[in-house]
């Protein structure tokens, strides 16, 4: 066996093998049903927790494994093997975007109340930033948290929220001042309860995910649920973006690898015009291009990851990795679908779902256009 690719070590490869085994054994066999039912059961979180997979990067005192981002990175990559982008997204939202702000910015009491049960898989989290009128443009947020006696009164609407139906708590960006722009955004941990209602959205892909619009109507949130400093929420948003985008890049790397392996196997097996598809030059070259693209994406992503874990703030590399991998992953899935021909268009094969799921990549977590805007600034343009 070849040695692990840096920044991963043997320890990570062991984790990879065990996570992969668990996913292939316990989760992947149910993917089709979860997609059809447009839901995956809560017990998935408990099962992952029992394996220690919901707290890889969190300290042991909060029930975590005491590992770091590299351990989490292994899980991000391997989750592609569930075979359901929606299930991976639900799990990913919990571990990669909803709980990190509590871990990084929460009070000890908030960590005990939210992070600890989240790591146990008992309470599920969601992150609420996007609104119907504010997607890429975070400065246009309108959800208002008005200061009242003992806390805040929240009114507004969030949309495209992964885990939006099932989440027990929503880490929510709200406006705590009337002025516009990036200033005056704060984060509140809002528990599901009176005044909080969700409606599930139908989507192109990610069918097993309960992506929802969440409305807040006169929801009282106690002062102790303010996460991080008042009016400084924009920093919280920015703080986790790098990890969220790296996690997406890693997910794409895992998904590309798997899709390539499966399509190459199909091309070796399926015959047309008297020989395997892979013996046709155009298909062979296409598959070679796809393998090269997958490898390139892996290298760029691992480089950004290495910089990230060594404490650099690699905004340029992470943003490039996100931009490159999400488009490349969708293009690879689309090409795999094409290689499958008519079968590729049918639901009974995995590939049309992989293409639909991958199509979210260039939109979610900051669209390609936003990545280019960020890079334009980073590159002093």
């Amino acid at each position: 066996m070849s040695p692990p690719t840096p920044p991963f070590t043997d320890e990570h490869e062991e984790l990879r093998q065990s996570a992969r085994g668990f996913i292939e054994r316990e989760l992947a066999p149910h993917a089709q049903r979860w997609e059809d039912e447009k839901w995956f059961p809560e017990e998935v979180f408990a099962k992952l927790a029992a394996q220690g997979l919901l707290g890889l990067k969190y300290p042991e005192k909060y029930g975590g494994q005491g590992g770091d981002y590299l351990h989490e990175a292994v899980l991000c990559e391997e989750m592609a093997r569930i075979g359901s982008g929606g299930a991976a997204a639900g799990i990913g939202a919990h571990v990669n975007i909803a709980t990190p702000p509590i871990w990084k910015f929460g009070t000890e009491e908030q960590k005990q109340r939210y992070l600890v049960p989240a790591v146990r898989g008992e309470r599920i989290g969601a992150l609420g930033i996007t609104e119907p009128g504010a997607g890429s443009d975070v400065a246009s947020l309108r959800t208002r948290a008005e200061a009242v006696d003992g806390g805040f009164l929240v009114n507004g609407e969030k949309t495209y929220i992964t885990n939006g139906v099932r989440a027990h708590f929503i880490v929510t960006a709200v406006k705590t001042t009337l002025e516009g722009g990036h200033h005056g955004i704060s984060f509140l941990i809002i528990e599901r309860g009176e005044g909080v209602s969700s409606s599930k959205l139908e989507k192109l892909g990610w069918h097993a995910s309960d992506t929802a619009t969440i409305s807040f109507e006169d929801v009282f949130v106690p002062r102790e649920n303010l996460l991080g400093p008042l009016n400084e929420g924009f920093k919280l948003i920015m703080a986790n973006f790098q990890w969220e985008r790296l996690a997406m890049a890693l997910g794409a790397v895992g998904a590309m690898q798997l899709a390539w392996e499966r399509t190459a196997a199909f091309a070796r097996e399926r015959h047309a015009f008297g020989r395997p598809l892979s013996a046709h030059q155009a298909i062979r070259h296409k598959l070679v291009d796809l393998a090269s693209s997958a490898y390139g994406c892996r290298c760029v992503t691992y480089d950004a990851l290495r910089r990230f874990v060594t404490g650099e703030e690699p905004i340029r590399e992470v943003t490039m990795a996100k931009l490159l991998t999400q488009r490349a992953s969708y293009e690879l899935m689309d090409a795999c679908l094409q290689i499958h021909g008519g079968a590729g268009y049918m639901r009974e094969y995995w590939v049309e779902r992989a293409a639909r799921d991958a199509r979210l990549g260039p939109i979610g977590g900051g669209s390609d256009e936003i990545m280019r805007e960020i890079l334009g600034r980073v590159l002093a343009l």
Binding site: S136, S140, G205, F273, G274, Y345, R347, I363, E369
Partner: protein, 396 residues
């Protein structure tokens, strides 16, 4: 002479852009089909995505004369030219239902033409006359589970038995396969004769031994019924043979040209529709203080899309003109099909991207167009097959 206001040429971007292949009559027809599709079909489009579209669409369209626009009057058609069929192929996009457009195209531009071209008078009376009325629904069976692009690899066998033929085999990805009353079926009658070993049959779908297996679930085109069919000892009289025995491969290659032509026209119409809707969205949706269409990269995306659609449109129309004038422009039809379907997919994808998160949601309809359009690069011959046909046409 000094330029005056009257002598300065200014572009009029709002003017109608009628192409030379279309007359005023065609434009009137386009308007009437668009009105029909908008009023009577589009309101049901969402529902039909769940249920597949109902058979009354065929009878209603038959009543309005839309199923025989370019078919001879003696069989109940309108006796129009080929361009009138193109008008239907484009204007039906207003139904906002890709699966319906496909089901109708199978009837008018895939199943009927070979019967009219190669059929006996009796076959035309039996199937074309009721098909134009929308009372008989037709389908076409080429692809098999083990033979898609490779038509020569099909295994469905028709074996002579006295005055009859006995058919065994299976066909897949058959549009209208569950609702159809008859199928134009490609079979092998002589396994040793290579390209000369194929024959077509017109098989009634209620013949004993025709088994409509599962309804196939697809990425898109949900309003269309797509079947896996099995033929088990299906006995048909020799008179059910369509065209010449042993010439089935050439007959079906001819049929595919019309199929690709109408598919290309549908691609252009779908792309235009997607473009128009997204343009309206981009003028309305604001981010960072202005309509997103006013950001340069978004504006350029529209410019790119419009240019590609226009180029594809010219390629399709010019090729249609040659086809209608009696040429058999296989190379150009393949180019038109390849390019138009690629453009349609690129446009759908770019429109989805411009919609951002909303594009990924069912509510906006763009994701459906994206899923439906993706078939265009696979159905009626994949991109790869088009490239083969074009490449080989140069002796390569």
């Amino acid at each position: 002479m000094a330029a005056t206001a009257e002598s300065v040429l200014k572009p009029d971007f709002q003017s109608a852009r009628k192409h030379f292949i279309f007359t005023d009559e065609h434009e009137a027809l386009r308007e009437s089909i668009t009105n029909f599709a908008t009023k009577e079909l589009a309101p049901h489009a969402d529902e039909w995505e769940e249920t597949t579209f109902p058979d009354w669409v065929f009878t209603r369209m038959g009543e309005l004369g839309f199923l025989g626009l370019d078919k001879p009057e003696e069989y109940g058609g309108q006796g129009g030219d080929y361009f009138s069929a193109m008008v239907l192929g484009e204007a039906i996009a207003a139904a906002n239902c890709g699966g319906l457009a496909m089901g109708v195209a199978v009837q008018t531009d895939m199943a009927m033409p070979p019967i009219l071209a190669f059929g006996t008078e009796e076959q035309k009376q039996q199937w074309v006359v009721p098909a134009i009325k929308g009372e008989a629904i037709l389908c076409l069976g080429i692809s098999e589970p083990d033979a898609g692009s490779d038509v020569k690899g099909i295994k469905t066998r028709a074996v002579r038995d006295g005055d009859d033929f006995i058919i065994n085999g299976s066909k897949t990805f058959i549009t209208n396969g569950h609702r159809a009353h008859a199928i134009v079926l490609v079979t092998k009658t002589d396994p040793d004769a290579g390209y000369d070993g194929f024959s077509l049959f017109l098989v009634p779908m209620d013949a004993p031994g025709v088994i409509r297996e599962e309804k196939l679930k697809k990425m898109g085109m949900h309003a269309s019924d797509t079947a896996l069919l099995a033929f088990q000892d299906v006995r048909v009289p020799a008179t059910a043979m369509l065209g010449q025995e042993g010439k089935g491969f050439y007959h079906i290659m001819w049929e595919l040209q019309g199929e690709r032509m109408i598919g290309a026209a549908g691609s252009i119409a779908g792309a235009q529709r997607c473009f128009d809707r997204t343009l309206a969205y981009a003028k309305e949706r604001e981010a960072f203080g202005r309509a997103i269409g006013h950001f340069q990269v978004i504006r350029h995306k529209f410019a790119d899309m419009a240019t590609k659609i226009e180029a594809a449109r010219q390629l399709v129309y010019t090729t249609a003109w040659r086809f209608a004038n009696g040429e058999y422009p296989v190379r150009e039809i393949s180019m038109a099909k390849l390019y138009a379907s690629r453009v349609a997919c690129e446009v759908a994808d770019e429109c989805l991207q411009i919609h951002g998160g909303a594009g990924y949601m069912k509510e906006y309809g763009i994701e459906r167009a994206w899923r439906d359009t993706r078939l265009n690069r696979i159905g009626a011959g994949t991109d790869e097959i088009m490239l083969e046909v074009i490449g080989r046409s140069y002796g390569l």
